[in-house]
Symmetry: C2
DNA sequence: CGGGTATATGTCTAGCGCGGCATATACAGG
DNA sequence: CCTGTATATGCCGCGCTAGACATATACCCG
């Protein structure tokens, strides 16, 4: 999880991941597309591979790097514990809090909130 | 997106986020629970706030930090572009590509693939 | 097996970020 | 107002890492 986030936290690495979304690419292709020097591309790919985000396959002298779903799926799983934060019910609460914040600068000692506007139901979550 | 990943890529910050999953906490509480010095907690919270991951609310002299769903939801949205990687149908494709890769070296500019093996459907995704 | 191509690895430098410490700010209570 | 509490901010040192460059390795071909 942490390693995955760390790997994706680097701009060029994220670009590589997004590039590989369309399918496997060679190191050279990646470097050319993203305008990166070859060594840099190799190093970033190394990190991504160590993080389990990509997979290599040798084809003659070039290496084809492909995106691997596992780690991304792991993120998705991790998010499962937080989906309630933006699920329908929670969104109402969010709106409510936002309104209270704008109109009525809440005293530090927050009291219970009295829903005034029915608040239109959002469409969907996820 | 990048900023979000960067924020979550730090161990203590991730711990803070996971801690806040159970509800808002004060700076002191966080520091005590995670055994971190107060300044460090404040700084991490600053980063999380700048990244839009948390929200502050003043209560007297303490500040209650609460998790905000928006950015996490953004990650979820970002993942949408990759779910195919671990969705059942895609797994077949993965196998297929692997086979093709072994037998017939595709040029880096990949062309359309011709399904050969029926490949059994996986169970579920997400 | 020599040369060319594709990629990996090593080295070095500069910059960023975390942690520790000291200090500033905000707020409540007497 | 003054003191204590809760949190933020400033400064410093150090470790990590991205980037540039040079070089090593792997592989193909003639």
């Amino acid at each position: 999880m942490l390693e995955t986030f760390a790997a994706l936290a680097e701009p060029n690495r994220l670009r590589i991941v997004e590039l590989l979304r369309d399918g496997p690419k060679s190191v050279g292709d990646i470097g050319e597309t993203l305008t990166l020097n070859q060594p840099q591309v190799s190093k970033h790919l190394r990190v991504l591979k160590d993080a389990g985000l990509v997979d290599v396959e040798s084809r003659a002298q070039q290496r084809l790097y492909a995106l691997r779903g596992a780690q991304l799926r792991a993120i998705d799983r991790w998010l499962d514990g937080y989906r309630a934060l933006w699920d329908a019910r929670m969104e109402q609460l969010g709106d409510l809090l936002a309104e209270l914040g704008e109109n009525d600068p809440p005293k530090t000692t927050s009291k219970s909130a009295k829903p005034k506007r029915p608040s239109k139901p959002k469409k969907r979550a996820r």
